[in-house]
């Protein structure tokens, strides 16, 4: 059975697309399975903290709204050399670039801590177990693991003592892989 060139091409593209869809489906199942695992094992620290965060942010915003009304009662106003006063809770509200939530500036630092991870063991545990295996799998040969290690030299000092090649790698992916 001889196919013309055109037939060949369209059969090829059909098969290619089909194959691509297969790959994609496998990856989708992987992602779903990973999320399911993290949720079930309670590994996502941010998950419970989100409720707490929302509450605290709402509180901060309420305080900001209030203190702009009764400035007299607040004795902590500092007067700078230009005679300007600064409210104790920075009252700008803007959007966190990481998670997209609207945060009061005064709560931004603690929010970022939780949003981006504090670099504590608990966070290490999440990225370590869920993604380190995947990273190891991806990296493959020791040659390549060296290169990623040297890339993340800036990050390495965060991995407290338990530094192996894996710990270094996971941090280089940390900002992406963290749940």
């Amino acid at each position: 059975m001889s196919l013309t060139n055109d037939d060949n091409m369209s059969a090829h593209s059909q098969v290619s697309s089909h194959f691509f869809e297969d790959l994609l489906d496998s990856i989708i199942v992987d992602v779903a399975s990973e999320c399911h695992r993290v949720a079930r094992l309670g590994l996502d620290r941010n998950f419970e903290e989100e409720e707490e965060e929302l509450r605290l942010s709402a509180q901060a915003r309420a305080r900001v709204a209030d203190s702009s009304n009764n400035g007299e009662t607040n004795s902590k106003y500092v007067v700078d050399i230009f005679g300007q006063t600064h409210p104790p809770v920075a009252n700008e509200i803007f959007e966190c670039m990481n998670c997209g939530r609207s945060i009061v500036a005064g709560r931004f630092a603690p929010h970022l801590e939780k949003c981006m991870g504090k670099g504590r063991k608990a966070r290490l545990k999440v990225t370590r177990s869920a993604t380190a295996a995947q990273n190891r799998y991806t990296r493959g040969s020791p040659g390549s693991s060296y290169s990623s290690y040297s890339n993340s030299t800036g990050m390495n000092r965060l991995s407290n003592g338990a530094s192996s090649g894996v710990a270094g790698e996971e941090y280089s992916n940390g900002s992406f892989e963290e749940l």
């Binding site: 090829h12 098969v15 691509f20 779903a32 996502d44």
Partner: protein, 111 residues
């Protein structure tokens, strides 16, 4: 001699005619055997992480889990949640890149 047992003749074992493997199957086997499928899978994974697709999918999952409650969600649920959006939000550049590689492989395998 009378047959003591009345039984119908043993039917010929119906043999499933071995279907000729489809092109799709041949490709799949060749891809796996040569290790190309694995490479493509890793390439696709990497690209999807880089472009933020994986994060989007994870966010979808988390939102769904939050809504349904952690213990009421199955992997199957999540797969059904992500699949339509996941397939649709693949950046064209990535899709093209992968398709080109697959077709290059087909050509090199002279299929």
């Amino acid at each position: 001699m009378r047959n003591s047992v009345n039984r119908p003749p043993t039917p010929d074992a119906v043999e499933d005619q071995e279907k000729e493997p489809t092109l799709q199957e041949i490709i799949n086997i060749k891809m796996i055997e040569s290790g190309e499928k694995e490479k493509l899978m890793e390439l696709l994974r990497e690209r999807l992480v880089e472009c933020g697709w994986k994060d989007e999918m994870k966010a979808l999952c988390r939102a769904y889990i939050k809504k349904k409650g952690t213990n009421n969600v199955t992997v199957d649920d999540l797969v059904h949640v992500i699949t339509p959006k996941g397939r649709a939000s693949i950046p064209d550049s990535i899709k093209t890149e992968l398709l080109l590689r697959i077709r290059a492989f087909l050509a090199s395998a002279a299929l």
